[in-house]
Amino acid sequence: MELTWESLAFLIFSAMTLGGGFAVVTQRNLFHAALFLMLSLFGTAGLFVLLVAPFLAAVQVLVYIGAIAILILFAIMLTRRIMGLETTLNSQWPVALITMVILFVSLLLVLTPLGDNVSGERLNATFTEIDKESEVSDVSFTTVAAIGEAFSTRNGFVLPFEIVSLLLTAALIGAIVVAREDEA
């Protein structure tokens, strides 16, 4: 992989994603952990831009950073009295660490050329080769309309879309009922 502007951007965004993620699981101060979560989510949005999915990148910023992370920050501020814990991690953290390492190494062996069983050449493929094959000319301008059509045509994803809407409504009502101040 030679160093182009694109790979440089990839390195920066993946460093943001992974560094933020690392800080989320290790930071003692929960408020800081939530801010690092935002950094990690922002890095992911950058990766989406690199993958030519601008719609998902914007939705990532809007929904994840603008709504979910803000909600988490809000909950942290509401429960701030118990922020100063003596220990951040529970007693089983060595086991968790071993599990994580085993999982990561096995994923690496399956997914990357580092392992033996690289399944096919396509894992090493780059944008340009793929674009040559499938003749997707201007991906960034076609995807938004394509997503809209996929959500609203019968051959597309109308039923899943409606079910997700129902799920969101149910979650909304459920959250309000659970978090209500008084039962009376």
Binding site: F55, L85, T88, N90, W93, M100, A125
Partner: protein, 102 residues
Amino acid sequence: MVPLWMFLMVSAGLFSLGVFGVLSRRNAIAILMSVELMLNAANINLVAFWRYLNPDNIAGQVFAAFVFAVAAGEAAVGLALILAIYRNRQTVIVEDVNLMKW
């Protein structure tokens, strides 16, 4: 150019971090944040596979959008539960919520 497996590696690393967080953090909100990390790792995978292997089929992006919706619902309900527990028992430490434990 960035090959596909590098995106997969970032996603694998993020997922592993999330697993570690879920298994080892004591604070319920921190566990919720780790779950968000894992969902994000899944999203990176979905979009990367869509872009590299099948850019004509929009299903990859559509599924990622579904993950957003599910994550939003999960965060709302999860935080509501945490707030309810905090109101009743003055704690968000998962080990202290042991009423149903045998």
